[in-house]
Symmetry: D3
Subunit: 136 residues, 6 copies
Amino acid sequence: MSTVKLIEYEEAVPEVRAVYDDIMATRQIDWVNNFWKALAVQPALLRRTWEGVKAVTAAGALDPLVKEMLYVAVSITNGCAYCINSHTAAARKKGMTDEMLAELMAVVGMANQTNAMVNGFQVELDEVFKDGGRQT
Amino acid sequence: MSTVKLIEYEEAVPEVRAVYDDIMATRQIDWVNNFWKALAVQPALLRRTWEGVKAVTAAGALDPLVKEMLYVAVSITNGCAYCINSHTAAARKKGMTDEMLAELMAVVGMANQTNAMVNGFQVELDEVFKDGGRQT
Amino acid sequence: MSTVKLIEYEEAVPEVRAVYDDIMATRQIDWVNNFWKALAVQPALLRRTWEGVKAVTAAGALDPLVKEMLYVAVSITNGCAYCINSHTAAARKKGMTDEMLAELMAVVGMANQTNAMVNGFQVELDEVFKDGGRQT
Amino acid sequence: MSTVKLIEYEEAVPEVRAVYDDIMATRQIDWVNNFWKALAVQPALLRRTWEGVKAVTAAGALDPLVKEMLYVAVSITNGCAYCINSHTAAARKKGMTDEMLAELMAVVGMANQTNAMVNGFQVELDEVFKDGGRQT
Amino acid sequence: MSTVKLIEYEEAVPEVRAVYDDIMATRQIDWVNNFWKALAVQPALLRRTWEGVKAVTAAGALDPLVKEMLYVAVSITNGCAYCINSHTAAARKKGMTDEMLAELMAVVGMANQTNAMVNGFQVELDEVFKDGGRQT
Amino acid sequence: MSTVKLIEYEEAVPEVRAVYDDIMATRQIDWVNNFWKALAVQPALLRRTWEGVKAVTAAGALDPLVKEMLYVAVSITNGCAYCINSHTAAARKKGMTDEMLAELMAVVGMANQTNAMVNGFQVELDEVFKDGGRQT
């Protein structure tokens, strides 16, 4: 069970309800998932976190599905089961197929492998990659 | 300096040269970056790793740029400087703009934040997310 | 189930019992939690680990509650569920309120976010921060 | 070098300048560190991140020095050199002595050790710790 | 439940069956564990991954039991429960005793502790360790 | 530069000198590496940490070279450059060849890859692996 009491809509203070309402309106659903009910232990933390998530997952220079898959990639690397499941579900809703998920996993797997081997051999950065190729 | 001697093309055994050749042909460049020169300490490891990287970064159900950005997201979360720089450079070559990089970073930042908070509050997985939304 | 047999007090060798006794005396409780029962697979490992934990959580230049919250912060970042739950419980016993837990979580969340973004942009360390501000 | 161009005050757009001004006013200093100059690549990301950092490091139920030390503990666990140096410097400014730093490190060290051993032995959570001791 | 459907032998396509057959032949068992059944969502990913695991766990300059224990050490540090359990079981089958497991855990615990403290104090690398002692 | 002053032998208090002496005697060398000079900021932390490292790296049920390679595997997974370099150097001194290092790296690479994919697909633990195969 969570280490703080989950706050349901009915018992929530107005500031919390306002965030729950915006989550449901933005996502066009009629319920709020447990993560937000835990954050509601501190209404300001809930509001700030939701504003961040809402901003970074909105359409922009990157497609919302791409953003959701990036979210999954990070969650896998951190080993957060709740996050992997919830963002995989969100990505599926936005169109991710099993084939796309398999390719995502293949990239994430190889990235974790080569990250480890680069560290392990302490490979020096090639001159041309310095600054992430910004000036080349 | 790397913990194994980097193997240059000129001194490489044929099995290593074959991989270097394929890397250069696939990427349409005339040089090989240090990571591969370190892996060449064991030709079979070099070959296997290159086959993996080549396979997962090729076009498929996901766009090569998306794959490169997923690679960056994992590398950031693991804090691998070589990997962040080299894959950011690769993503730029494939069309990633500063605006796209900023959005990538915004997602990766929020994902690391919410991953931590989900863990911190030990939030229970909502029923609907079980199995990554596969059956809903 | 744990990958080694948990050793109960009744079946423990004297060296293990002595550690269990000291844990109970130090914490003023009459039971020992599972972590120690697993470490008892090797009495020397149990003793050394307990001495370390006992030393670092005792009052000193930092308050025991602050130390417990630092323990929680690390456990969250590592995603260790057992550790998060047990040290959150210990912090509550030492006086941590829900409000304090929420602030702890807010810091841990932002720290994980900005750590990722600093890595992601490969930001150069400002001169004034070199050596952790030791000489400024 | 950073993977995006650092934006100096003189060349910044008004939205960025406003954040820089608030950082300097809040911290009572006359300069801005590199992290913010990198985030300025996307003014909205800069603003949102600063608001988060400002909120979580302000005085509240926890002391600002405690918050800074929690920030250091997370940064160590993530291995972020920039973050460790900058937040250690910030903690020193807020009163952290060498003795306090040593105790912080001792806790962070033991926490990383016991986190690993709890994982390694796959220790089952004791009933009394479920929900972080919230109901006991 | 896993985020993709597990593919059983009976329903598998020939490319998948061939891998399952090789896993069973190599390990001299008559069943395949769930990990491979998940990877089967993309036969090429399954084949490539199995080839990698088969290659790195075979006898060579290092003993298979040593390799299995290295696998456990990494899995612990990443906090992957499935991996810890399955590779601990594999190591036991190859001869790891409780005493060896305890020593493995003791090393992994101390390594995680000192890794954190080295990071925390930002210790400069001694000249003699540069390049992993390759030239000394 | 390190975030605390490194304590040289000449300026050290007796308790610190005693540890430095034991490090040099145990390792049969005439110098002490920087890590210990940083820990000397708190003599008790130095002593406790050295006792732990000395104990876990001594010969026992596992060979000292195997222990050193386990240390390297953890250090790679945590991305600690100082630790990777110093423990790779120590392993070389104890007999690790380039071929053995390559095999170590191959295992560590695959382990990081499959750890990520197990997490990513949220694979359920097979019944037979429960408790790390302790009872089978």
